[in-house]
Every structure is written in C-alpha cells, then in structure tokens.
Symmetry: none
Subunit: 416 residues, 2 copies
C-alpha cells in the first residue's frame, strides 16, 4: 500500500475561483500513517474525462482516493464512472437508502427522488457511513489495489475519513514519516544550492525539497521508516542538522515559524520592545509584526514616514541630511532608526528607506536600492541592499531584510 | 486548440503545506481566450512520476502547460522529463546562457555553475524569454499539439505568459470572451444574493460567480460569443449593469480594481492627501495604500499607534479619554483621526481602533469590536463594527471598513 493518488472531482475546481482543499486534509492524515501522495488529478464532472482520470489514477496507485461527485444532482457522476472503469454494476442498497430517507425524515422532510442514486453501491464495495451528510463513502478492494470514494464537502469527507478510513489504513500501514521545515533568510536559492552540495539524499527513504520566496528559502526534509517513528525522526533530524550546519545563522526556524514569529518570540523572551520607521515598505514591516497574536507585548509603535516632511517632523531626521544625501541613503536610514528609537522609548528602532519603484529612481539610485538600519543598546547597524523585481517584490524583500537584521542581532547578543 | 491540460510540477504541492496557484492564473487568462481547462495534474519532482504525468497530459491535451521544475537545482527536472517524453535532445543555448550570466552580473555576482542547466533548450523549441527571472519558458509544437513549459514562481510565470504565450494563443483562438468583475463592500454574501435575485443567467453563453472575501463580495460575469468581441462585451455589460443597479453604491469597482486603488485614484484626481492612524490593524491600512505605485502623491504618513502611550504622545489623544472610554471606543477613534489629520497636515485623517483578538476582550467589548473614524474638511464621521472571525479576518475587515468609509465620502462630495 505504497503509492497514493488522489482524484478530485468537480468542474468548479477547474475555474480560476476554487481550489481543491480536500486533498490537503487527506495528505496531512495520510502522511501521519507514513503514506505520501504521489499525484493529484483534478478533473471536471464530464463522464469521459472522469473515467479517463480514474483509469489513470488506478494505473498509478496502490491506494486511490476519489473525492467529490457523490451528490444527488445530474452532474454527480463519480459512482457511475468508477463502476464503469471497474466493470461492475451499481445496486441500490436498502440499508443506505433507509439511512438517507431517515436523515430527511428527522428534518421533517421527504427524500427527493434525486437522492435515491446516493444509495447506489458498486457491487462488492464496503459502505462507509457518512455521519455528516447523505452520501456514504465506498471502500473497494480489487486484487492488490484499494479504491476509496469520499464525499466532497470537507466536513463530510473528514468525518467519513476519521470514522472508517483511518482505522483501516492504520491496520495495514507499517511506514512512519517525519518532517522538518528549515527556513533561511539572506541567501539566494543558488547560494543555498551551492552551500548544501552533496547533501541531497540519494536513498529513497529521505527527501529534500527547496522552495524560494522573496527573501526566504525553505528546505523541506522528510524521512520514512518501516521500523519506527523514532527512526524516521532520527533520519530526518540527521539531514536537517547537516543542512543547519552548512547554512549556519541564515536558518531562522526549523518548525515552520515565520520570521516575524521568531523575532516576536525572541523579543518576548528578552522582555524587550521595538518601534519601526518605514518609508518604501509603507507599513508592511508593522503589518507583519502585528499579525502575531500577543505582539502588543513588544511592538510599541510604527511610523510610516512616507513624505520627507514626516521623516523630519516625526523622527527628527535633519532636513539638511535629506538634502545632502537623499531620503534613500544610509545616513537617512540611520537617522530614522535612531529617531524612532528615541521618540518611542523602545529598546530597538528599525528603519527602512528605499526605492520600491516603478518610478523614483535617480542617478546612482536605481529601483530596488534599499537601506535598512537597526538601532539598539549596542549601537546602530546600517545595511545596503539592491533587490530585483517589481514594487511588491522589492517591498517584500526589504521587509524580510530588516526583520532578519533584527533577528540576527537578537540571536547574537544575550539580553541585557 | 480546444483541450487544455495543466501539469503542475513540484513535490511541495503534494505536501499539506502548498497549493498549486499558478493554474488559477493560467485558467483565468485561458478563459479570456475562450479556452477551458479540462484537467490538472499535480506531480512531484521524481523523474518517473514526472514523465508519466507529462505523457498522460500530452495524450489528453491539444494544449499542454507544464509549470515549475525549471530552476537550477537537482530537483528541477521538467526540461529533462519533457525532452525524454518527446525523445528530443537538450542543447545549451548560447543566447539564453548569456542572458542568465548577464542577470547575475547586474547584481554584481557571477553565475553559479548550477544555473547553466537553465540554458538547456529542448531541440526545436522556441525560447520564451523570462523578464523576471533566470529560467526561460519553452514553446514546443509537435504535430497538432502544443506543449508550453513555464517557470513556477508566480511572478515569472505571469510575465512569461503575458509577454509570449498570450499573443500566440490570441492569434489562434476564434472564441471571444468578455469579463466584468464587480467588487462591493459593506454587504454580506447573503445580502448580495437576496438583492440580485432573478438575475442569475440561464443561457450557456453567460456565467455569474459570486465570491466572498473579508469585507468584500465579488461578482464575476463572463460572456462568450462566436461572432465578435463586441457581442460578448454587450452581453456581459447588460448583466453587469443590471447587477450594478441592484447593488447601488456598495459597488466600488467594475474593472477588478481593489479598494485602495479606487481610493488612490479619487484622491489623486482631487489632489487631496491622507494620513492614517492605526491600532488593531497594525499597519495593514498603510500597507494597502502604499502597495499602489504613485501613492506618495497622496499618502503623507501613517502612525501605527499600538500602545496607549503612542496614541497619547503621537496623536494627542487625551490620556483621560483613554481612561474613561478605553482605547477601543468611538471617542478615541475620533481623537485619533483628528489627531493624525492635525499633526500631518493632510486633508483627511483616518483611524482604526479595535480588538483583533484572540485576547484583549473585556466586558462589553468583545473580540471583533472595531471603531473606524474619518476626519476631513466636512467634519469627522465615526462608525462602529462588530466583525466575526479570527485575528487576521478581523484585521482584514477593519482595513476594508475604513477604506470604504473614505471611498464613499470621496464619491459623495465633490472636491473643494
């Protein structure tokens, strides 16, 4: 029971508006049993497409899930399609029919004729009763393969899975899975690639996936064991710690936490406070910090000093400094960080000033030029960046940059 | 060129953590050309699975998109897999290689050896230059079929699509589609449903989809025509204008513009300025306003006055007012709006104060209670909201609420 494929059925998932989310739940729960999903196929309600997708899924999988298309309407065709692919008849099951009628009766209604087809069962299948809706799931074993049909509405899918599918899988599965997510800042994807050369696992029991986001690289490690959860955990951890060693202080979390959560935890532990002065990021740094519940313990205030007048009036940046060096300069960034620290009384003052684009570039100051400054008990540090990308990309990288400067500083120096 | 299949490549999309979102963009744009997506296959980086999925996709599709797996790392194998399926060799393309080297050079770096494989081109393919990254797309025609390889990062996928794929598809497509997106604020989904009763289109040539977001309802109208773009446009517009009439001033855009863009356009036209004081939204209102390129013309500054001390010191909110009425009160919201207007010299001062949760609730002040205030030439208006949902949901609705108060005010009253 190794190879798992999910076929998600529903024409709405082939529009720009809806995603298949059932498979995320299934994946998480199957991972718990050491089972990985190998492929997902998303297909509409049209019969031929549906049969083709189910046939492909069955060819690929030892364990095939087909979700959705079990409702009472004309465009619910999953039962028929699976029956056709398996070349088995559909029979109305008296007990299932009685259960559906009973469900309507309890709400003071009569079952509409359309719902009768929900009582049709593929011959030889086990019925998986649905505690949350009318459509039962079906469990079909044929030769070495298992095919499971589950209703599409998330609440129904989840309750049928937990009541009937999880116990059956747990009885058969011997594999265990462990997973680690390392997140790193301040490195490009290719830099990470170079630094971890030789660590890509070659054995089939371990996997490494690298993902790049603006200002952030993620390394997803997973390990399987047929023996025990402890062995899986050990194997995953040995790769994760090798990666951590190579990447050094660039790694800021290994439990999936975002940078603002890490910074928040560090500040809360140290009982220290921050204030932020933003120009080109326009509130994004404040926004990220205050996404975290409980951030009022350390975040005092933020000043989005977009105009020069605000930088001068709110932060005490000298007008002459802006004239001489420009609003986008290391000098101004320093004055902003020190200014916001002073006016707020916070332990740390952070500042970002730069050119997010598309306009605003000047001679020697291209779009993407950003200065970040962090002022604290040990003095002020200023860093210069040149980010690539459009406005939102530059803003995202700049926010990540300043949060990472603070994070490294907090990790380097013990609290006062 | 009727049947479209998308193969999305990346093991991360087979974990519980990531969804394929590229296909949503592709679907939306392909729909614009009258093309519907018939199936999506999501597959990992493992070579055999990948080849199998590409083979299946090619069997099914007249137009096959393969997204992702074009990066420089060992687990980027899309080029190889497609080449193997098509039985064609990969050649390093000198011009592509030079462009990649140039991209690194511009950042003052040398191309790492790993990136060389991004210059490999399947023989006979057209290279689709990537303005936003190193991996170019590829366009392959074989017999009656077209296979398009696109980079996975959304920004790169979108720019390669718009620059190279859209023009080629538009030249071959004969269907015409018109699309309208109405966005409304201040109404719930069921209120909208009730107001537009009887307007759901019954003919197959038109579609209406209603989508609910925090503080925003979207109505997506599309109409197809085999005859002309004008006919499609007329059909879509007749439905859109009927919807607009029913929903009245709640509709703030019909071209897809977000609320911050509408507010920005109104302010720029009137040559008026704003400043923002935020508490529970923690910078989100500023962040949204400054996402818009050119916002420096009207956005002067924002004060994220999270602590009471900041509200008192930065905005001149009387300490006694906070003691008597609380930081979350109509009185404080009014004082914040008037304070930020005064200290910034802006034409309008906006303020938000509330309880985003999960903690912070008090007697008579539940999580979700938010006061918004807008102060301007005609006086100050304060509104009280009680939003449902978790922290991020309350923050999103509160930001939407204050921006919509300003929008309605700017639309009501002519500029001075």
């Amino acid at each position: 029971m190794k190879r798992v494929v999910i076929v998600a059925v529903g024409s709405e998932m082939l529009t720009p508006f809806f995603q298949d989310t059932d498979s995320l739940f299934l994946t998480r729960r199957l991972n718990d049993f050491g089972l990985d999903v190998e492929e997902k196929i998303i297909v509409g309600d049209e019969s031929d497409s549906l049969k083709k997708a189910i046939r492909e899924g069955r060819d690929r999988a030892d364990l095939l899930f087909v979700t959705g298309g079990l409702g009472p309407t004309d465009d619910d065709r999953t039962r028929e399609a699976v029956a056709a692919v398996l070349n088995k008849p559909l029979d109305v099951d008296g007990r299932v029919l009685a259960a559906i009628e009973e469900r309507f009766f309890r709400r003071g209604k009569t079952m509409p004729p359309a719902n009768r087809k929900q009582a049709e069962v593929i011959r030889g299948a086990d019925v998986l009763a649905n505690p949350a809706g009318t459509a039962p799931g079906l469990w079909i074993e044929e030769e070495e393969k298992i095919i499971v049909l589950l209703p599409g509405p998330p609440r129904e899918l989840e309750s049928v899975f937990e009541a009937h599918v999880a116990p059956r899988i747990s009885g058969r599965s011997r594999a265990h899975l462990a997973r680690k997510v390392l997140k790193a800042a301040g490195l490009t994807e290719s830099e990470v690639e170079t630094m971890i050369q030789g660590l890509y696992p070659r054995d089939p029991g371990r996997r490494l996936t690298i993902l790049a986001f603006p200002g952030q690289i993620e390394l997803h490690v997973s390990a399987f064991s047929d023996v025990s959860a402890e062995e899986a955990e050990r194997t995953a951890e040995s790769l994760a710690s090798a990666l951590r060693e190579r990447l050094g202080p660039a790694v800021f979390s290994d439990d999936g936490s975002d940078l603002e959560a890490v910074v928040g935890r560090l500040l809360a532990e140290r009982k220290e406070t921050i204030a932020v002065a933003e120009s080109c990021t326009g509130g994004l740094v404040c926004r990220r910090l205050t996404r975290i519940a409980g951030s009022s313990a350390y975040f005092l205030e933020g000043l989005v000093t977009y105009s020069n007048q605000a930088k001068i009036g709110r932060l005490g940046v000298p007008a002459r400094m802006i004239e001489e060096h420009g609003a986008v300069s290391g000098e101004t960034a320093r004055a902003m960080a020190e200014g916001v620290r002073r006016v707020s009384g916070a332990d740390y003052g952070l500042a970002v000033t730069g050119i997010a684009g598309p306009s605003g570039a000047a001679a020697g100051k291209p779009v993407g030029l950003v200065f970040c400054a962090a002022s604290g008990p040990g003095g002020t540090r200023v860093e210069r960046f040149l980010f690539l990308g459009d406005r939102s990309h530059v803003q995202a990288q700049a926010a990540q940059g300043i949060l990472d400067i603070l994070r490294r500083r907090l990790e380097e120096k013990p609290a006062r």
